[in-house]
């Protein structure tokens, strides 16, 4: 079995990679590497989340709310591989791959969910409520859309500092109904701040379908109201998301202000681990499972010859192996000591 060349993409600061075009190609195709990287990260996100939701949660090792991005992996991966390391990311609760891409280990993520000291929050918070400023990853708070004004401010800060970095903020369709969503985008638009807004429109917010969330057809229909451009993208096509992200990021980086990307996708799970999602018509799950972003990418990789069947299988195997190791290591991480309860509320 041929070894997979899988050097993780960490585009060096300051250089944009060549534009990705949807051209068929051989091993030398610039898309080949991107596609394989994407496959790895999507598969890894799926595997890690599956273990959390379907194993650790049921075993009682993970407690509290568990939200996964099953079926939506293309969104954080396609966009996450388009940013530079010095760009700032505000992931939503379904964008775990952004953490993996930024070098947060699966072990740390499992530890986070299990409330151990090796999680990013030292047990103070759970699940995707995690961040690491040194990696330019900002932790969400629960309140949907609260990240948008904060991301707007980060983008304003970049402009203030004369940097050519951008801020990318992620949110769901439901979050668009919050006042903060509006205030944040409006402020960023007026300030022409380098903010890329990525919506995962998975058509549900908890049990609430789009039709009860908004009266317009697309989230992107709101962009003109802020004087900003937008694009609607197939949310299950990682390469399409990557391309759209590159365009949006280039726009923001060039000083033209915010850009909104709407990724049409579907939440292939309940809202959280305890939700059987009985309110979702069964046929929707069936239809969308045919659109699995991972399966679609694998198919394309094979078709285009970007990797062999064996190579793909080895990526899958690697993902399983890394997850096994990570869970094991995370379980060894201790719980925070009760004596630390009062630490670090204020500085010093």
């Amino acid at each position: 079995m041929a070894a997979v060349k899988l050097e993780l993409i960490r585009p060096s600061s300051g250089t944009e990679r060549a534009t990705v075009a949807d051209q068929a190609g051989a091993e030398t195709d610039p898309l080949a590497d991107l596609a394989r990287q994407s496959l790895y990260y999507m598969a890894m996100m799926r595997e890690v989340e599956d273990r959390i939701e379907r194993k650790l949660y049921r075993q009682g090792k993970v407690v509290g709310g568990v939200y996964v991005g099953r079926g939506q992996e293309a969104i954080p991966v396609g966009s996450g591989l388009a940013v530079r390391p010095d760009d700032m990311l505000f992931p939503s609760h379904r964008d775990m791959a952004l953490f993996l891409i930024r070098g947060v280990s699966a072990r740390q993520i499992f530890a986070q969910y299990m409330g151990r000291v090796d999680g990013l929050t030292n047990g103070r918070d759970g699940n995707m409520h995690m961040g690491d400023l040194s990696k330019r990853l900002v932790a969400i708070i629960s309140a949907m859309a609260a990240s948008i004004p904060v991301a707007a401010g980060a983008a304003m800060g970049m402009k203030y500092q004369g940097k050519d970095t951008v801020t990318v903020v992620y949110f769901g369709d439901g979050a668009t109904s919050r006042g903060d969503w509006h205030e944040g985008i409006n402020l960023a638009s007026v300030q022409k701040a380098p903010l890329v807004l990525i919506c995962n429109n998975n058509q549900y917010a908890y049990s609430t379908p789009l039709s009860k969330q908004m009266a317009c057809a697309n989230v992107a229909d709101r962009a003109p109201g802020y004087g900003i451009p937008s694009e609607v993208v197939d949310g299950n096509d990682v390469l399409a998301i990557h391309e759209a992200s590159r365009r949006a990021i280039a726009h923001a980086r060039a000083g033209h202000g915010p850009f909104l990307i709407e990724c049409k996708t579907f939440r292939m799970t309940g809202h959280s681990a305890h939700d059987p999602a009985d309110y979702v018509p069964k046929h929707l799950f069936a239809e969308w499972s045919a659109q699995c972003p991972i399966a679609r990418l694998e198919k394309k990789i094979i078709e285009r010859g970007w990797a062999s069947v064996e190579e793909v299988a080895s990526i899958r195997a690697r993902v399983v192996r890394e997850s096994d190791e990570a869970v094991e290591a995370a379980e060894k991480s201790p719980y925070p000591d009760a004596s630390t309860l009062l630490d670090n509320l204020y500085e010093k």
Partner: protein, 323 residues
């Protein structure tokens, strides 16, 4: 019939909906899904989409719309999915709802229901106990039932009340307590505390889930000959000062217990009232037990260390008894 706290609230709401066609519900995921905690389960089927309205994720609009509908003579009951998100609708509550009767004689008879409290591994944003913000806002009534019986009786009173009521339901109680709840139409008055347990030596003033912590401690202390009286406030504003003072005058010692953070919590208010108005009756300092001044942490050992519990309470009560 023995009924859980969550079923009791549902019964109360549903009886009021039967009684008064102006009562309707609005909130996130309260319809088909029956609410994050299933408080409204079955009500959509029973009362239809007109009276059980699923809204967008818009806490400010939920509260605001409730106020507007109340101006039309309706009786809106709004659900905030977690009390933690009530901050997103804060201005509508403290500035619109709370002040309209006083300013221009326009009552806003709304109920804002919010599941509060920790003990369910919810972390900093699904465990908050933030009643003190509202108790400091004139014009609101703040209600926190501790028992299934009170939960039903108080939600009914809240819906019938002609002023805005913030109704905090404790999440950890929803399915943990079960008791006899009358099936007939009764209500529990807003603004009346309840002597949850009679005692002679120390008064514990508390409310919401902490009533049960107090009860546990009281049982234990009974064996040591320390008799604890428990005042379950049930309503913070308007406060039933009389019941508190009467109890303290009888026992001469008091401890105030709540799950909210200590500093600036409502415990200070109760302590101040006791100190000012029953000073000569006190045989010891008024103590407080509350959560420490940090956000509610997620991980089990931290959350356990955070929450006030029987052990911590016993320690303080024993100290006070010996004073």
């Amino acid at each position: 019939m023995t009924t859980t706290y969550v079923d009791a609230i549902r019964q109360g709401i549903s009886e009021e909906m039967e009684r008064d066609p102006n009562v309707f519900l609005l909130g996130e995921d309260i319809g088909v899904y029956g609410g994050a905690f299933k408080v409204t389960q079955g009500l959509l089927e029973r009362f239809g989409e007109r009276r059980v309205v699923d809204t967008p994720i818009s806490e400010s609009a939920i509260v605001g719309a409730a106020i507007g509908a109340s101006f039309m003579g309706l009786r809106p009951v709004a659900e905030i999915q977690f009390a933690d998100f009530i901050s997103c609708g804060f201005d509508q509550i403290v500035n619109f709802a709370a002040k309209c009767r006083y300013r221009w004689n326009a009552p806003a008879p709304i109920v804002v229901r919010a599941p509060c409290g920790g003990g369910i591994h919810g972390g900093p944003f699904h465990s908050q106990q933030n009643e003190a913000w509202f108790a400091h806002t004139p014009g609101l009534k703040v209600v926190l039932p501790a028992t299934a019986r009170d939960a039903k009786g108080l939600i009914k009173s809240a819906i019938r009340d002609n002023d805005p009521v913030i109704f905090f339901e404790h999440k950890a109680l929803y399915r943990r307590i079960k008791e006899e709840v009358p099936e007939d139409d009764y209500s529990v008055p807003i603004g009346k505390a309840n002597i949850f347990r009679e005692g002679k030596h120390i008064t514990v003033v508390t409310y919401s889930a902490m009533v049960h912590v107090a009860a546990e401690a009281a049982e234990i202390l009974d064996k040591d000959g320390i008799s604890v009286e428990i005042v379950d406030l049930r309503t913070l504003t308007p406060l039933d000062e009389e019941t508190i003072l009467a109890s303290v005058r009888k026992t001469s010692k008091a401890l105030v217990l709540h799950e909210a953070n200590l500093t600036g919590g409502f415990g200070g208010e109760i302590t101040a009232r006791i100190t000012e108005k029953a000073f000569e009756d006190l045989d010891g300092p008024v103590l407080r037990l509350a959560a420490p001044d940090v956000p509610v942490p997620f991980s089990t050992p931290l959350e356990e260390a955070y929450l006030p519990n029987t052990q911590k309470l016993l320690e303080k009560l024993r100290w006070l008894a010996a004073y």
